[in-house]
């Protein structure tokens, strides 16, 4: 390896260290018996025990999981339809507006989206009497609105790359359009749907700012609970929670990787 290659790999290693070191420190310190962050008081699982008895955190986690699940399903459905519209329907009235509306949530500051949605909900409640206050429903609506665009991006590129002759062949053989879509198109773009679903799930379960606007006293998702705890300073309980999240994500990625590898082997 020449000098330049060595310098490049050193830079890359430093970037990886920068990305992973903070997470690793959180994991290590979640097993710290001491309440002080920088003093090592010996190995302990005490914070995990306290976390698992925290009703507020557990309730919020359960709510967040349900919201993320509903959001991922709805966003994948709507986002896929939007991708079909963008890739397959080249000319229709209002296409420019539609393209803008699909891609704007990708870059829109969350704080603006959150404020706008809350003002909409308040206005709707005044005029229509619905939604009745802030609840799980308003959070799901808000999450779907910003995460469907991410699903569209993922599905759109897969749809644009796919070989349309398979659909044409099925159609020539007399399959109806809906059958073609369900039996040919959908299986081909399925990996993109799965990726989009996971992305929407992650975005939802991670969202702080938009949720802060559209959640209410009756429905407080996990990130809002964490955020209000973290604002008061470092707490070992949050370290334990962070470690659980990292472990779950690691398992999910390992499983997803396995499944995809298996698929590639099958395909190849």
């Amino acid at each position: 390896m020449n000098n330049r290659g060595f310098a490049l790999y050193t830079a890359l290693a430093l970037v990886y260290a920068f990305l992973y070191l903070p997470i690793m420190l959180l994991v290590i310190y979640s097993f710290n018996a001491s309440k002080l962050v920088t003093v090592w008081g010996g190995f302990s699982t005490r914070w995990y025990g306290e976390l698992l008895q925290d009703e507020q955190v557990l309730g919020a986690a359960w709510l967040s999981l349900r919201i993320a699940f509903l959001n991922a399903c709805l966003a994948t459905g709507l986002g896929t339809l939007a991708a079909v519209v963008l890739v397959r329907f080249k000319r229709f009235s209002g296409r420019a507006l539609f393209t803008g509306m699909v891609s704007a949530p990708l870059v829109m500051p969350e704080i603006i989206t959150g404020l706008a949605l809350l003002l909409l909900f308040v206005g709707m409640e005044q005029v229509l009497g619905w939604p009745d206050g802030r609840s799980m429903t308003t959070i799901v609506i808000a999450h779907v609105t910003f995460s469907l665009s991410f699903v569209t991006v993922v599905v759109r590129s897969r749809l644009a790359q796919m070989d349309r002759s398979l659909e044409e062949a099925a159609m020539d053989l007399g399959a109806r359009p809906l059958t073609v879509f369900l039996r040919i198109t959908l299986p081909i773009i399925a990996p993109a749907l799965a990726a989009g679903w996971l992305l929407a799930f992650t975005l939802s379960i991670d969202d702080v700012v938009i949720s802060a606007f559209v959640s209410g006293p009756g429905a407080t998702p996990l990130p809002i609970v964490i955020f209000s705890k973290v604002r008061l300073g470092v707490s070992p309980e949050i370290n334990a929670l962070a470690t659980i999240v990292v472990a779950l994500v690691a398992v999910a990625i390992a499983v997803a990787g396995r499944v995809m590898m298996g698929k590639e082997n099958q395909d190849g």
């Binding site: 420190l25 891609s103 603006i112 003002l119 990292v246």
Partner: protein, 297 residues
């Protein structure tokens, strides 16, 4: 053959759901923000007056919210602060992300995918938790100060948390993957024979980088910078957790107007002003993305 999916009615049905959803829950809310930014605040629920008094048939709009923005230096400084921090974060991401993307793009082909996955992986863990991790590292009695003092580099702990430096570090950390991924995409597609040609013509490697690689990777640089800069301008969580009371950014001001002062018209005016500020980079981003999508699709 005219099929259902291709036909007018079929198209209408497929497009209806996402179109209606985005119109109702994305477009209309912005019009409401615009409307409330022109309304008179009042004590009560909701805390603003109707824009049109239907009984009198009179238009009751006011520019008071915007006048507050122009009249108080706080807002101007908050906008400038947001732009400065976003610019610092973008430069930081570029400085770290370019060598990383370059190294991945020039790595052996079979390793690139795994190396890229490693960049994107932290994104799947909680953003909030990753920002939180830096509090323990950067605070006065935090791990970084302990390490630096232990190594004898400094004798007094540095005040890093609650400064702009901490906010910049947090933003670079959170947004780095958004810089590396588009940079990698352009660097990986580059035709390496161009560099060989430059070398054959007597061009030194660094010169070749400046006059061949850098211009060719410009689309990636622009996309990456937009993807970092735009959300960084509107960022709230990072300046709130890692910044101090003096960290003045527009996201915090909007939050305070809305949640602490309950001044919805002013909060809406701040949001509209923020959008105006971001409209040029957002339009530029959409323009580039549309061109890219046309090329690929």
């Amino acid at each position: 053959m005219k099929s259902l999916l291709e036909g007018r009615a079929g198209r209408f049905l497929v497009g209806l759901a996402p179109y209606a959803w985005l119109a109702v829950f994305f477009l209309v809310p912005f019009l409401i923000v615009l409307k409330i930014s022109l309304s008179e605040p009042q004590m009560g629920i909701p805390p603003y007056m109707p824009l049109v008094d239907w009984a009198e048939g009179a238009f009751k709009g006011t520019l008071a919210g915007y006048r507050t923005l122009l009249g108080d230096d706080l807002y101007l400084f908050a906008y400038l602060g947001s732009l400065r921090l976003a610019a610092m974060a973008t430069l930081g991401c570029l400085a770290l992300g370019y060598p990383a993307a370059y190294a991945i793009a020039r790595a052996p082909r079979h390793r690139r995918h795994a190396l890229l996955m490693l960049v994107a992986l932290p994104f799947w863990t909680s953003f909030l938790i990753r920002v939180y991790a830096w509090i323990g590292i950067l605070k006065t009695e935090g791990l970084l100060n302990m390490a630096l003092m232990g190594l004898g580099i400094i004798s007094e702990p540095l005040q890093i948390l609650e400064t702009d430096i901490a906010v910049t570090i947090g933003m670079v950390y959170s947004y780095l993957p958004f810089m590396i991924l588009p940079l990698y995409a352009t660097l990986e597609k580059m035709d390496l024979s161009l560099l060989e040609a430059a070398a054959d013509l007597g061009c030194r490697p660094f010169r070749a980088f400046l006059s061949v690689t850098l211009p060719l990777s410009m689309p990636g640089i622009i996309a990456g910078c937009m993807l970092v800069f735009i959300p960084a301008v509107g960022e709230f969580v990072i300046p709130d957790l890692l910044g101090g009371p003096d960290t003045l950014v527009i996201g915090k001001v909007l939050w305070a107007e809305f949640f602490d002062n309950r001044d919805w018209p002013t909060a809406s005016a701040v949001a509209v002003a923020m959008l105006v500020l971001l409209v040029v980079p957002i339009m530029a981003f959409q323009h580039f993305e549309a061109k890219r999508a046309e090329r690929e699709g």
